[in-house]
Symmetry: C2
Subunit: 291 residues, 2 copies
């Protein structure tokens, strides 16, 4: 999901509570928090589920926004529909992280999907989101969905050659999540894919973390047969403009494939087949980072 | 340039000055301000030129960010290169507003441009940016540039049929700038265009102001022979994801035209001919607003 936990800043202003997440030492995004719905220090992280004034409910992990109800569609739609619309026949999908259920909800829109396995390390994220954010978590109880509370790396090592699409929906590559953008992790994930399998993950934003995008790209190119990036807006992530990494185990380069449309009547807000194709066009300053 | 002036919030935190621009009643962007370079209440607005910790120097008008040095390229490149790369022969360019010089700088990258006229109502914006932000204002002294401190509407009424491209680079459509997104203004601008002329302006962001985009689109369709929108990231504008309106006086629809590449060796950071084409692909939720 998002950006490294620099310090964050909470202030009381005329009796209201305002919270600022810093995206750089002196730049951040500020929300007025109306109510804290759930707060816990879990074995893995600090979890806060809050109600904001404008952005709906929001999940913070270690002080960084994971999503808000108002803007989560940008991220979840792109992370899921891009790989699932170009894999020739995605039946088994693995989601690593993503305990809020946003990726699960989107994956189930693809009629060929028979089984979605969610492997989340922190069970309290799943429970809190099921209780407080049904708009995102509502499909976690679908019969096609298996929710496993365990370590994703261990799970992938135990399930080689098993998944058509693997979606890593994790916090930013610092602390607990820092191995998730390194070559050994990519290798573990690739080995858990079927022969034409696709891997996808968020890969940071270019406004504040361009060098990190480059590092991730180089690690991915060492492992996957093909690796590419696509982009989309993410209003509450640093810089508002985000990259996603897609890696292919098979022979076809994912950037050149024409997406299969979603079934007639499926409502998406950001994603469309035309947006899919446009999202692979990278601006010059981003191309420079991943060269 | 940007979003309506809702209240803004300045706080001192451990001896540092932090400034928040609100994009909605309880959501905003926060900067640490290291130094105020210029502050004035001009006859038109409150002008503040500040040095921020991360974003370089920044211009605020009436408490709303107009640009920061770190992210202005997204906005200025898209606003200028899209129309200038599809007009068949842009020789005379008019910029209404834009006293910072960012649009002028980009327009002069097009070798066919013979004359750029900047009509800015507030001379103090021009003076302050020339003194403090040369990275943006440096081309205001170019011999091809005429800087006029006067009202843009009056100027366009006095110069019918005169400009190949008109770029409106104004504050948001509230207060002084509110007529700039209405049909009578569009008619004045269209009459100042040559027969194949193109009009372009920022037209708000869909995350917080989708209805406003729709209103602007409907007004533009009443006036221009063709009107279309394109999009691009704007990290320091509300929602980080912005729309631009392009209106055509001539018979060709601007959305379908293939852009002419910039001269070999011209360095742009966000714009490219491929980004140009991709920028006209609107996501479903934005199409819904402008229907």
């Amino acid at each position: 999901m998002k950006k490294e936990p620099s310090a964050s800043l909470g202030v009381l202003h005329q009796g209201e509570f305002w919270f600022t997440e810093l995206h750089a030492p002196g730049t951040g995004i500020t929300f007025r928090v109306k109510r804290v719905l759930h707060w816990a220090r879990t074995p893995f992280q600090e979890l806060a589920l809050v109600e904001t004034e404008d952005m709906g409910r929001a999940l913070f992990l270690d002080g960084t926004v994971q999503f808000t109800e108002r803007d989560e569609f940008f991220y979840h739609e792109m992370l899921v529909h891009v790989p699932l619309s170009i894999h020739p026949r995605p039946r088994r999908v693995l989601i690593v992280g993503g305990g809020d259920g946003g990726c699960v909800r989107e994956a189930l829109l693809h009629p060929g999907v028979e089984e979605v396995t969610l492997v989340e390390i922190d069970g309290e994220v799943v429970e809190a989101c099921r209780e407080h954010i049904p708009s995102v978590s509502s499909k976690l109880g679908d019969p096609r969905v298996r929710v496993l509370i365990q370590d994703g790396v261990r799970f992938m090592k135990d399930n080689r050659g098993s998944f058509d699409v693997i979606i890593v929906d994790s916090t930013d590559p610092v602390g607990m999540a820092s191995p998730l953008t390194q070559a050994p992790f990519f290798r573990t994930a690739m080995n858990a894919l079927t022969s034409e399998g696709l891997y996808v993950a968020q890969s940071q934003g270019p406004v504040f973390d361009g060098k990190e995008i480059g590092r991730i790209a180089r690690a991915a190119r060492k492992v996957f047969r093909h690796a590419a990036h696509f982009m989309g807006p993410t209003p509450t992530y640093p810089g508002g403009h985000w990259t996603y990494l897609i890696g292919a185990r098979g022979a076809k380069h994912p950037a050149g494939l024409k997406p299969r449309p979603l079934p007639r009547g499926t409502k998406t807000r950001y994603y469309s087949p035309e947006i899919h194709t446009a999202a692979f066009v990278l601006p010059p300053f981003v191309r420079d980072f991943i060269r």
